[in-house]
């Protein structure tokens, strides 16, 4: 296995981190194939188990879907805003005992709460303003997953998928990013591993408000599957909870509040296995994603 990364190397690897973050890890396939049952109190085993749940140790593509409901929260009032359906194309590669490279491409849809269809416009509460809802698509992002890290990064409209989309998501800014993978919890035959990430943006234009993004994702999988010799990945389910500042496209300037989203999701090993509505929307709005998802992860 590779040695532990130095702080300098970590910082270099984290360049290119995007606003949203998952977090994962993986162990080399060979090393894992001959190992005994993992000791989830050991950092390397915990990290490897996490990668098995989120993706795969053998560097194959893994596809994550997340489905939830997004609310506005203002002065204690929670109002349903829209549905959320996200999909991610991911790949993991071991860098060291305590670090895994994580390539990520994300496509998200904001949907009507009643019909489930993709929203083109949305009437924002409190400001009573009809806003255009952007199609969210970012990547590829190169991340590093470790048990814990804190980094300073840059968000620039010119370095993301689309300059105009990037502006709608966040202004050019300095990013302060913090990530923690929590200890595993085991109950009967199930294992849960949780990660928390927190991102704070300080815009270069000091006249613009700062932004934050807080995300917790918990993966659940079978303990027996995780312990099976030679397994490089396991079936898993996830739950998530996200809080985030108003995005520029919401045009909520002056309103003291934020949005919160929570829901469930899962991992698939092929694009075809993703939820039918995600595939239908992607065929309509981003057909190239279905044609060659692996190509999207090329840096």
């Amino acid at each position: 296995m590779a040695d532990t990364l130095t702080g300098t190397t970590r910082r270099r690897l984290l360049q290119g981190l995007t606003l949203s973050s998952f977090g994962l890890a993986s162990l080399s396939t060979e090393a894992q194939a001959d190992s005994a049952a993992p000791d989830l109190t050991e950092p390397a085993d915990l990290l490897a188990a996490s990668i098995k749940m989120r993706g795969s140790l053998d560097e194959r593509l893994a596809f994550i879907w997340m489905r939830g409901t997004r609310y506005t929260l203002v002065n204690g009032e929670a109002l349903p805003l829209c549905g959320y359906l996200g999909g991610s194309i991911t790949r993991y590669r071991q860098l060291a005992d305590d670090a895994y490279e994580f390539l990520l491409y994300e496509i998200s849809y904001y949907t009507d709460l009643e019909t489930g269809e993709v929203l083109q416009t949305l009437r924002m509460p409190y400001v009573d303003r009809e806003v255009d809802v952007p199609l969210y698509r970012t990547g590829p992002g190169r991340h590093v997953v470790m048990l814990a890290n804190e980094e300073e990064l840059e968000w620039s409209a010119k370095k993301t998928t689309g300059e105009e989309l990037a502006r709608q998501l966040a202004p050019d800014a300095k990013i302060y990013y913090r990530f923690n993978l929590r200890p595993a919890v085991t109950f009967r035959d199930q294992v849960w591993i949780r990660s928390d990430s927190f991102t704070r943006l300080v815009p270069r234009d000091t006249a613009q408000p700062g932004m934050f993004y807080k995300e917790a994702i918990t993966y659940q999988a079978s303990q027996a599957e995780l312990a099976r010799a030679g397994s490089v990945q396991v079936d898993s389910l996830l739950s998530f909870a996200i809080s985030t500042a108003w995005r520029p496209w919401m045009q909520m300037g002056g309103i003291d509040g934020h949005t919160t989203t929570d829901g469930i999701g899962g991992k698939e090993l092929s694009m075809a296995a993703m939820p039918a509505d995600f595939l239908r929307f992607t065929e309509a709005f981003h057909p190239d994603v279905l044609d060659d998802p692996a190509a999207l992860l090329k840096l």
Binding site: R67, T69, Y71, L73, G76, E77, A78, R182, V185, F187, R188, Q190, W192, R194, D196, F198, R200, G210, M211, F212, K214, A216, T218, Q220, D235, L237, S239, A241, S243, A245, D256, H258, T260, D262, G263, I264, G266, P275
Partner: protein, 303 residues
């Protein structure tokens, strides 16, 4: 409690009093099969069947004791800053009390332990983020109380902290407005996922006190074939949980803007002994009677 005539009242009050536990975790039921007995499958597109499915995932279709646990982490959120606050491990002990076609009611007792965010040790005191004030952390025990569930529920009630309890540490006397809703979120890989939402606000009688809110989402999952089997009284469901709530009085956050945010997961326990070890250890310290005889702890009606 002021609205003891309204069985719905307990549910709302409970939400606000529970230190923020969110999830009304698993509870139990007494099953009174609402629909005709034959071994027909539940149709989760029908409201009545959806509610029955939820009842057996979270409680049961019979009168037996149900036990569920939840583990979560709680954060303090203020003006774009998010700081770790504490962990929590909780359990509910419950049984179904009453069932109609479009509603069921449970009697529930809830114990929540607040723990150190990293170590998991039981907290006695806590330094609050943003105010940097050292406060005492109260033990949380609520119930037995009645709580009602329906596919769509909208209720308002009065609340006052019960005598000889520390309920006032969690919410002030006032009016409580509560909504609940249930939907089939997804069927995936042979599992059914049901999403339950609760949102409530407390408007204190003392108008100088700030209003409070509690928002909770739980998603319950279990094998569809077990959920849909009308012969099966309960299923081993897993729950994911996300909640937000106002600062509680015991947090002494004063005028500091913000709220708490928690999320975690849980599952049904098959017996007291099946509960997580840390929950058992802490409960032996703070509420041993509940572990000794949970059914007895559920028998005293709340006054």
């Amino acid at each position: 409690m002021n609205s003891s005539h309204d069985p719905a009242a307990g549910a709302s009050r409970r939400r606000f009093c529970r230190a923020g536990l969110a999830a009304s975790l698993l509870a139990a039921t007494t099953g009174f099969p609402v629909r005709s007995p034959a071994a027909e499958l539940l149709d989760l597109k029908r409201d009545a069947d959806l509610l029955r499915a939820y009842q057996k995932m979270r409680f049961s279709m019979g009168p037996e004791l149900n036990i569920g646990w939840l583990r979560a982490k709680r954060f303090a959120v203020s003006q774009g800053r998010v700081e770790p606050l504490c962990g929590l491990v909780a359990a509910t002990f419950s049984r179904v009390n009453r069932v109609t076609d479009d509603l069921f009611e449970v009697i529930v007792l809830e114990i929540t332990h607040y723990t150190d965010f990293d170590s998991g040790a039981l907290l006695q005191t806590l330094t609050m983020p943003f105010t940097n004030q050292l406060i005492e952390v109260p033990a949380y025990r609520f119930g037995p109380a009645k709580s009602r569930f329906s596919v769509r529920l909208n209720e308002t009630e009065s609340f006052a902290p019960a005598a000889n309890t520390n309920e006032g540490e969690f919410a002030a006397a006032g009016q409580v407005a509560m909504t609940k809703s249930l939907e089939l979120s997804r069927i995936h890989a042979g599992d059914a996922f049901l999403r339950h939402e609760e949102y409530g606000r407390v408007y204190p009688a003392n108008t100088e006190l700030p209003s409070m809110f509690y928002k909770e989402s739980t998603t319950w999952s279990a094998p569809l074939r077990e959920v849909a089997d009308s012969e099966q009284r309960q299923v081993d469901a897993t729950v994911s949980y996300a909640a937000m709530t106002s600062w509680r009085p015991w947090m002494k956050m004063g005028d500091t803007p913000g709220h708490t945010s928690s999320n975690g997961f849980g599952r049904r326990a098959r017996s007291v002994e099946d509960l997580p070890d840390d929950f058992l250890a802490y409960t032996r310290e703070t509420a041993p009677d509940v572990l000794d005889d949970p059914l007895a702890a559920l028998t005293e009606p709340e006054i």
